[in-house]
């Protein structure tokens, strides 16, 4: 069939406007019938990345499961701002038990559904980075190793925001938090600490692991959709900026989520059964500085004087990610939209084919 190849450059950000896409590929958020799983009226801060991430992810999951879904939520911002008694923003069956047990609660829900023969109802567990990488980590690893039929989503804003911005194992080096202040020669959070839970999840060889950012909702949606096609333990780690905890402007939430990927500090990738199957290429590489300087938590790296050494060490981390995950592919690849491989495989539309590079088609 003859067709004219579209060039998706109009938006300048490499984000494709929904009106340029065929209806099947438009974002769940662009649909009149989206479920508004986390509906309006909640108490999240202005510019909250977690609220966006949760809405994108759960609306996509609700669409994929035709509304047959149960969510188990850890304690944290998301739980607190969404359920001030007697109100609730949740338009799906939702349970909050404790801070550290959301994966186990989700496993229990999944077990109950299996015992009742209700495999049509799916389970999502969700938590912030504290509830995932720290206090909930043992339960998370248990859910993974048993391959329980749970999609667990971590909304990572890189610290304990609900308690007043304390360091978690997901806090990046040099970041200022309430207990990693840049005092007496300390650069903020220490270098050489912390853990990469997406890689640990991949090491469990579970059916599906992905990372995503709230800057690319269609990519996040595509990953949720892919996760919902599979059974067993699945994990999606979503990067969600926090204006309050990061000292960033609420209007910079999406920009920061884009820059963290474009500078290489947060690799966006997919893995199945222990193997990385695709990475989202950096489209226009930026130095980490562009990402850092928008955030109060890194202000000490620029004032009163520029700390080239620490900025350099952060750049090294980004450089290592770029090399390790092959985040820079040939220019042809740069035209491939994140999540496009998945979408294309499903609807078979005449879009540019993904490059050979690191991308392996998910199907």
């Amino acid at each position: 069939m003859p067709y004219q190849q579209l060039r998706y450059y109009q938006a300048g950000t490499f984000v494709v406007g929904n009106r340029l896409l065929p209806p099947e590929q438009r974002s769940v958020q662009a649909r009149m019938d989206r479920s508004n799983t986390l509906t309006c009226g909640h108490r999240a801060c202005r510019g909250c990345g977690e609220a966006l991430g949760a809405r994108y992810a759960l609306d996509a999951a609700m669409r994929a499961t035709k509304g047959q879904m149960i969510a188990a939520n850890a304690t944290g911002c998301l739980e607190v701002f969404s359920t001030p008694f007697p109100e609730s923003s949740w338009q799906l069956p939702w349970i909050h038990s404790l801070f550290g047990n959301a994966p186990a609660v989700a496993s229990g829900v999944a077990a109950a559904l299996r015992a009742k023969g209700r495999s049509d109802i799916r389970v999502v567990g969700q938590a912030g980075d504290g509830g995932t990488v720290d206090i909930g980590f043992a339960c998370l690893s248990g859910t993974f190793e048993r391959n329980d039929d749970v999609l667990f989503i971590c909304y990572d804003n890189e610290a304990y925001m609900n308690t007043g911005v304390q360091r978690s194992a997901a806090t990046p080096p040099a970041a200022r938090t309430a207990n990693t202040k840049p005092l007496e020669g300390h650069p903020g959070n220490e270098f050489g600490q912390g853990k990469n839970v997406p890689l640990i999840a991949i090491a469990h060889e579970i059916p599906y692991v992905a990372t995503a950012t709230v800057a690319e909702p269609r990519d996040l949606e595509a990953k949720v959709e892919r996760a919902m096609e599979l059974r067993g333990a699945r994990y999606i780690h979503v990067f969600v900026p926090c204006p309050l905890g990061w000292g960033s402007a609420p209007h910079d939430t999406i920009r920061l989520a884009r820059l963290v990927k474009e500078c290489g500090l947060f690799p966006v990738l997919e893995a199945e059964r222990g193997e990385v199957t695709s990475v989202s290429n950096i489209r226009r590489r930026v130095p980490v500085e562009e990402y850092l300087k928008l955030q109060g938590r890194y202000a000490h790296l620029f004032e009163p004087e520029r700390d080239d050494e620490v900025i350099g060490r952060l750049q090294e981390i980004a450089d290592r990610n770029v090399e390790r995950f092959g985040l820079l592919a040939d220019p042809e690849d740069a035209r491939t939209l994140p999540g496009e491989a998945t979408a294309q495989a499903r609807v078979d539309l005449p879009l540019p084919s993904p490059g050979s590079g690191n991308g392996k088609e998910a199907s």
Binding site: E79, P84, W90, P93, I95, G108, A112, K116, G117
Partner: protein, 423 residues
């Protein structure tokens, strides 16, 4: 041998088969002695398909076990777990959550001491540490009763929508072989209706469970938990009576007296030690002593009126308990004193059987002899068979200054259990 008749069984096996007869849909458990034989038995029954449909989750901790039960119960499944000792403490946060959410989970607790020093043997320090967690606590005296209490526990839990803990003495009951009449599944079905949850995670009718509650309603939610436990005080005897009708044997209830009606001295205890106490009561009765016993079968909710009724006419009450509140005194004792407030009854608090130390008829007879002849001061907390010399030697070492080292190892060395070596 057909089920329903007497069989020689290990207590754990009797409990496993009884629990299976209650048709739990989700079991989540983590192994800890002396609970292991119960969950191993259930794992077998799930694997052979004798217990189906049922999902058995081999979780990574007791915290996860209780958490998975919370998720399962909130999804409308009958959920069960079993633990002991450190395991109960490790799930403590989730225990309060299960009761706060009003989820009717049933758990077997194979009572075991809490460390340090680490000790696998029986006492009640685990269940007593969670007495205010909002769980109903039932205590079994025999393996038959342990089995029967589980059938009642599911019924009770689901009728009031609260979690129930069936406490059975670790090793003393869990690992003892005796004759048990395992409740027949068809009788259980008659006695225990299908689980009809009061709240359920259902996509067709979505609810939010576990919302945040501030000062405007927190007191009321907590009041309701208490009110439900008070309701259980009426329900437990009714369920026990119905059980007796269906199964043709007694089990459970709130309290049970033994030759206590006219007794001047009454010994109060929980769990399997009641058997030994009753033997000693019989011996003393044969000598003409006016003595009886009272078993507290349900410690939470606390049957204050029933305890007062049963003990109010006595002159002396000896509370024999397998745990104590360090720095304060007896736990059951404090509750007994509360029940007897304003009555001229002397209450003696005696701690016994800690960490598996046998409570012998001889020691009990000696203790009761002291009580009956007014040789025991009712004010301080007493410890049955305490090796005072051993304690004093260690105290001397500690007072001598320097670095005397860890208590437990020093004392074992004194006893010759650890090979002697000099510092």
């Amino acid at each position: 041998m057909p089920s329903g008749s007497l069989e020689q069984l290990e207590g754990s096996a009797a409990v496993a088969r009884t629990v299976a007869g209650c048709r739990p849909e989700v079991i989540a458990a983590y192994p800890i002695s002396p609970q292991t034989h119960i969950v191993e038995g259930l794992s077998d029954l799930v694997r052979t398909g004798e217990l189906a449909p049922c999902e058995y989750l081999m979780v990574e901790s007791e915290f996860a076990a209780m958490s998975a039960c919370i998720g399962a119960s909130a999804t409308g499944a009958r959920a069960y777990t079993a633990t002991a000792s450190q395991g109960l403490l490790y799930m403590a946060e989730a225990l309060y959550n299960a009761s706060g959410l009003g989820l009717p989970i049933v758990m077997t607790l194979a009572n075991r001491a809490i460390g340090a020093p680490i000790n696998i043997w029986n006492d009640h320090s685990d269940s007593m540490s969670q007495r205010d967690s909002g769980w109903v606590q039932l205590y079994a005296e025999t393996n038959q009763e342990a089995a029967d209490l589980h059938v009642q526990a599911f019924r009770l839990a689901e009728e009031i929508s609260l979690p129930v803990m069936v406490c059975m003495d670790g090793f003393i009951l869990t690992h003892a072989y005796e004759e048990v009449d395992v409740p027949r599944p068809e009788q259980v079905d008659e006695f225990l209706p299908a689980f009809a949850p009061r709240q359920v995670l259902d996509p067709d009718d979505p609810v939010t469970i576990g919302a945040m509650v501030g000062p405007e309603a927190f007191t009321e939610v907590k009041y309701l938990m208490h009110a439900k436990q008070m309701q259980a005080l009426d329900l437990i005897p009714r369920i026990a009576a119905e059980f007796a009708e269906t199964f043709d044997r007694e089990a459970g209830g709130l309290v049970r007296g033994y030759r206590a009606d006219d007794a001047e001295t009454i010994v109060v205890a929980l769990g399997s030690v009641l058997g030994t106490i009753e033997d000693v009561v019989d011996e003393l009765r044969a000598d003409g002593v006016s003595i009886g016993a009272l078993g507290v079968k349900c410690f939470r909710p606390y049957p204050l009126e029933e305890v007062r009724e049963a003990l109010g006419g006595a002159e002396r009450v000896v509370v024999l308990e397998k745990a104590f509140a360090v720095g304060a005194g007896g736990i059951v004792g404090q509750n007994v004193r509360l029940a007897l407030a304003g009555l001229p009854v002397t209450v003696y608090d005696v701690v016994a059987g800690l960490g598996g130390r046998p409570i012998t008829a001889k020691s009990l007879a000696g203790l009761l002899g002291d009580v009956l002849s007014d040789r025991l001061d009712p004010r301080p907390l007493h410890f049955l068979d305490l090796d005072r010399e051993l304690v004093e030697r260690e105290l001397e070492r500690q007072h001598a200054g320097g670095r005397p080292g860890p208590h437990a190892e020093n004392m074992l060395r004194d006893l010759g259990i650890v090979a002697a070596r000099s510092h």
